[in-house]
Structure formats: C-alpha cells, structure tokens
Symmetry: D3
Subunit: 168 residues, 6 copies
C-alpha cells in the first residue's frame, strides 16, 4: 500500500522560507506532512524546541495536513512510531548531498523499510540556511524574504542582546 | 489531492539492477510507477525502443503497478498526458546530482506543477550505469549481478559482433 | 595600471539570459566588455559564427561598452591582441567549476599575465545552458524567459526541421 | 562608472602566501585593494584583530594601493561605507566554492549592487589555509614557504605554549 | 627500494568496519600496516588513546603484520621515525577527497619523500564514520554490522550515561 | 605476500608530465610499474598504439623497472595475465574522483582480488590532461613544460595539418 504521509525532520532553528517551500511541495504529493523538530540540546539552539514547534504551527495554522512534532532519539524510531515510512529532505547543494546521503544510508542501515526522498527547493532559496539566517539577523541585517515575517520578528527580538555574530 | 502515480524516465539501454531497485523503492510509496523509456534516436541506443520497453515489461511481468511506455518529446508534456505530476530519479553520485538538478530545474521552469523526487539506489549499485554495463559486456566481461539475468542474456547476444569497447 | 576592459569568451550557441546577466554584471566593474565568440567549427554549432555575433550585437545595440568579436585560436593570444588581461567567466555549478579551473590554469600556464575572474549569474539562470536551450527548443518547448526574445524567435526557426532532440 | 577598488575580506588568522597571492592578483585589475579583517571574536582567533591588521600592513608596506582595515558587522555595510561595490574572494576547492557561493548569494540578497568576483590562487597554494598553517605551527612543523617570513616568526612565538594541535 | 610497510593514521574513535576493511586491503599490498592512533586531546575523544589502541590490537590479535601505535605531533615526523614513506587513507566521498587532498599536499610540502595512497573501502561502508557511529550508539541505536562486535560492546557501555546525541 | 608490481593503465594520447610524475611516484613504492596503454580504437586516438607505447618507452629508457605494454579488453583480465593485483591511478579533481571510483568499483565487482590505489600528481600538473594538451598543440600553443620534450616535438609534427581545435 502506498504511503500517504511523509516526515520532514530538521532543527528548524528557525524555519526558513526554504523549509516552507519544501513542506508545500511535499503537500503536493503526500496527504500529510509531519514536520519533526529535533530537540538537539547539544547544539544549543537559539530557539527552544517549544518555540520552534510553535513558529511552524503558526505558519501552517490554516493547513491541517501539516502536523508539527518535537522528537528526540533516532529518526527511524520516530518514523515508525508515527506509522510512516517516508522521509523527505531538501537538497540545495553538493555539501547537502553528501551529508544527506550519509544520513539516509545510515537510516537505511538501521531501518531498511524507511525510504528517504530528496526534493529541490526553489532556486530562490538555494543559498538559505537557518544558520546563515541567524548570523545575518545577529549582525542586524534584514531577513525579510528569507523567513516568514512572523519568524523575522521573533528573530529580531531574540538576537537583540549579547548575540553578536559575523559573516566574512 | 496527493499523487498516487510517479513517472520514472530514462533511456534504459539496457535496464540495470540499479534501475530495478529504484522502481521497487518507488512502489513502496506510489500506487503506480510509469517507466518512461526515452526513444532518443540521436544517441543511437544499443537496443531499440521496442526491445528496451519489452525487457522492462518482462522483468515486472508480475507487478501490475508498473507500466512501461515509450516516449518522445518533452518529459513534462508526457507527464501531463499521463495525468501525473511526480517524476522520480535515482541519484548515485555528485555528477548525477548536478545533471539531475539542471534537468529538474529546467522541467520546473517549463512546468512548475511537476515535481521531481530523488531517490538513492542501494549502495551495491552505486557504480552502475547502462553505459558501463554495455562496455563491460562488449569486452566480454560478465554482467551477472549488474543487470537482471534476462537482460544479461540479451546483452551477450547483442554485443557478439563488431561492438568491441573498452574501459581504461 | 588597473584594467578597464575584460573579455568574456564562449560559444554562445545561442546566447542565453544567463550570459546576458554576466555581461551586465561585468559592465558594473569594467568600462568595456569584449564578448569573444569562439568559431569552434569542430563542435558543429547550430548557429553560424556570424549569426551568433549578430544576435549578441543586436541585444546590446544600445550599449557601446559591449563589443562582440569572433575569434579563432588560443584565447590568450586573442586577449593579448585586444590589449586586455582580464577574462571573465560565469560559474553556475561544481561541474563548471572544475572545467573552468582547468581552463584558467592552462591559460595561466600559457600566459601568466592574464587573469581569469569568475562571476555568479543570477540564481534564476543557474540551470541554464545553451545546450539545454537548444534541446528544449528542438522538442518544441518554450524558451521564453531563458533567452532574449529575439533569440527565441531565431531558435524556433532554426529548429523547425529535422532537428528533433530529447531530454530524459 | 567602472570600479577602481575592491574589498578582500577574511579572518587572516594569520595571512598566508595564498592570501598574498590573491591580493597581488587583485592589484593587477583594481587600483586599490582594501583588505578587510573580520574581527570575529566568536571564533577566538589566535591573533588579535590588531595583530592581524598589523601583519598585513607590514607585508604590503611598500604598496600604497593596499589598505588594511578591521571590520565588524555585515560585509555589505562595510563595502558601502568604503564606497566600493566589488568583493574579491579566492577559490581553492569545491568546498570553498559552495561556501563562497552561499555567502555571495546571501550578500547579493542583502545588497544587489555589490558584486563578488572569484579568483584562483596559484596552484602552489591550493592546499593552504590559515587553519592548517596554525595546526602545523602548533605541532612544531615549519611553515616557511606557506606564510610570509614575518608571519612565520610571529606564529612560532604565538604557538610556543599550551597550544598543542594535531593533524591526522 | 620499494616500500614494504605503510602507515594508516586516524583517530579511530572508535575503529569501524570501514577502517578494518582498509587495513585488510592494505595488507594485500604491504607486508606491514602500522595503524597510527592520533592522540588528539583537543577533539576530546570518546575513548582514551589507550582504549583506542587496545581495541584495534584486539581486533587484529591474530595478524602480526598489523602494528598499532599511538602518535602525537606531525604525521610526517612519525612516519620517518617508523622508517616508512607510505601513508594510506580511505576515501569515501567528495568531502573526504578534498580534506584528504589538502592534508596530503600539506604533508608533501612538509616531507616530499612521503607518499599518500588512497584506497576505496567496500561500498557497504561508504556511509560509515566514527562520528556517526558514536551518534547512533548515543541514541540507543544498534551499531552491529557497523563496527566489530567487541567495539559495539564497549561503545554501549561508554554511551550509557549523560551522552545523549541525535541525528536529524 | 605483498605486491611488488603495479599496473598504471590509460590512453596516454599522449603521455603528459602528470603521467610521468605518477609513474615516478609509483616507483617509490613498487619494484615494477607496468604502464598499460589502452588500444581504444573507438576513441580514435591522435597517436597510434604503437606510437604511444614507443613514446613512453623512450622516456623511461633508462629505468628498467618501467614496462610498457599495449592492452585490449578488460583491465582486470590484463592485470591477472600480468600476475599483478595492484592498479594505480592519478586523481586530479572531483570529476576524476567520481569517474575513477566508478571504474574501480566496477573492476572490484569483476575481480575482487584486484585493488586500485589512487595517487596525487604534483599540483603543478593538476590541470593537465592529454586532451587539453592536444587542443593547445592543435591551436599552435606551446606545450613545453606540459609534456616531455620528445613528446612535444612529435605532437607538433602530428598537429600540423587539418587538426584545428579550440578551447573556449
């Protein structure tokens, strides 16, 4: 029986317009997209898990086909618990490609029944990453057009403080 | 409404075990996979379009969810004619990645409603290509394990003759 | 003494919007951009050298800072004959990167005084190539938005005929 | 009006012969090269901003066309404050390429009027990075030929101490 | 005089089946393979140098041609002290390729008489890294088939504790 | 028993200084290097197999450890016939990497006992290829420093004629 739902995992710290684009493209193919927010305490995210989940829920408030969940542990365990066997990931560049392939192969080794599908975001977002967005915001640059405006607002509040970062 | 069918286009000259793997993975997610065999007369394929279609049909004879069709012209036009908006492609390596992204972006530019999904074949087939299979067979090497055995047989018959090729 | 002119070499068979973008970016930095159209008879271009030169001249008819010249032979000899020591090239992707670096290093080995600068076209053209444009046109696809409209028209006339090509 | 100056930003911790090479190549094309030393306190540089600026000034003491400035904040803001619209960056390898393109696209998104030019250092420096130079020096290896000798001396003094690092 | 021994350096934190595969392939060509375990205190390895050396010794207990040594300092100095001029390294992917080439070129610059040979591990291990193995184990995933079983056991003991890590 | 000889296969049309460099590096590790010249009639080489073999023999006339042989058919069959299980190949760039890995994996699939070792040529030859050398010579450019001088001479004689080629 074919799959009707897909998991889209990530840190989403914060969600960018590139992520939003992939979720919308996923909805063209799957009935339900489960956005799985990795808790990832070791990476010391800028936004708490709760904040990250809430921001995504707000953006997709009108789309019931999008579910947002925090997760912790192995992705393949989470996928099984959700009863879905499809993982979607966006690919922007070669460096993504290698990392994503490594993760997908490891996941396949851990759980051969779970399949990873790779999607291409719009070229307009090909350079976007949460990391870069945080840096630009931290330096006082405008992130309008890079993240949903609700996220831009929260980011501005967050980085006002000791968070000075820089891009070369 | 989510998609239930996907198109898997290619030259399949001949179909390899890597292609078979991708088709089977596609069937885990989609109800129907349409294998679209590109006629491609300019590339002077080793097997005729008819032979290539027939070989794939034989391999999937027991799976009604796999349809095999020859096509000619733009892929996006063919996809629309088939009533499907999903294209699947296998990605083995970086060189694939760049070529496939270029094609997918061009297709997106021609038909924004059609989405390309990339899948990873089994690592066991990561080095396989129809081209390399033809070369090995042409030099008298064994292609068992690289292509379905029905294809291996046809390939042996085909390359007996003036077809001497070599790999460095 | 700093350079005021730069050479932009290529086959331009035909010129695309990506090329136009690079030429315009070059004009932001150099007083004069010399578009050097490679005669390249071995590659059997779709358009004659004369046609290719003319198409580019028409597009930049209003910009006197753009000169269009056919050339034949080593690029470094042509650059010296033009009295310029700067070559500009667009980089879209990794595959470009490697090829372009190889050519630039060879050119540096032949003429150490000539410097190659690499520029990034707009992301909107990151997937564009003359080759792909010819293929799409050959299959009857629309190339509006990919090439200047004068080029699109000439391309349509050219490919009406026995030129059937296909993309997988 | 064409540009006569270019900004060359980086951490320069410390400046290597590869950086020196790019600056000299830049001087073949631009009247003035502004070396912009990123303060970057978060990365905990080995040399202070002041030391890094001073080392570069010493190396180019005889070339008035080279200016060295520390900067802090967004590169595009600094470029505008300097009245220049050209950024130059060296490209050594694929990994550079992807990172540099991402930064250049982000900068273009923040300031469309600022253009990034990529240059190729001499192949002799294709493997050099400040990071690697620090590691080799930290292990007591000789960095002669990798950095200007004034830098080699300062590096030796700096790494004598608790700074033990290793390369595999 | 041709070489009869080769050094295989790394952190081996812990050794994976991919490393074991490379060592065995090395033994097909060289009489002796010296596994050189980098002490690397800055990276805060999960296993101590002693533990890492011991685990490898146990795995190759029956093969006298494998020697395991800890080292500290420049690899080229260690190689010379061992009287060997050959270094072997496994290459899995493009990202390896660039890093490894950079290190090999730096080593060649420091010691032109020492040669690096690159080998391909089995495709089954193409996605494996010590880092990923630690992460999976840290999340409670099974690492059987990824590392020798003696290592899997030690890893389970080690990560029981505060070591929670995650993969996206 | 460790190997004392290695095969270095290629088209060598013609041999470049990059190839010479790899052969010399091979001799630091192996007692004997067998240069295997692929006949490759389909690629229509510029030099006949006989000429290519002879040119290499002349260059290494004083080194008895270098044998030069033409071969035809599968490389792994040739290697076995020579009684050696080691193949060496030079890696210059990413594009090499992918192609070479594909070939090495196919060879491993055909003959698991034969191992491919990859070596890095000197950075001075990182951009060199026989193909590019032929093109430069065909356009009347100097290839001194790129190929041994005996080869440069033969190349000049060969390309005098209808062989006009061009590089962009």
């Amino acid at each position: 029986m074919p799959e009707t739902s897909a998991i889209y995992p990530g840190s989403f710290d914060p969600i960018t317009n590139g992520h939003v684009d992939i979720i919308n493209r996923g909805l063209n193919v799957f009935e339900r997209v489960i956005v799985a927010v990795l808790e990832n305490p070791k990476k010391r995210p800028l936004f708490t898990t709760k904040e990250r989940v809430r921001m995504i829920q707000d953006i997709f408030a009108s789309k019931k086909e999008v579910e947002v969940r925090a997760f912790d542990g192995l992705l393949v365990d989470f996928a099984r618990a959700q009863g879905t066997r499809v993982v979607i990931r966006g690919l922007r560049a070669i460096s993504d490609f290698e990392y994503e392939f490594q993760m997908a192969l490891m996941n396949r080794s851990l759980a051969p029944d779970i399949e990873t599908f790779f999607m291409m975001p719009s070229v307009n977002y090909s350079f976007l990453s949460s990391n870069l967005v945080r840096e630009v915001a931290g330096l006082g640059g405008s992130v309008e057009g890079l993240v949903p405006s609700s996220v831009a607002r929260k980011l501005r509040n967050k980085v006002r403080g000791p968070h000075k970062v820089q891009i070369p």
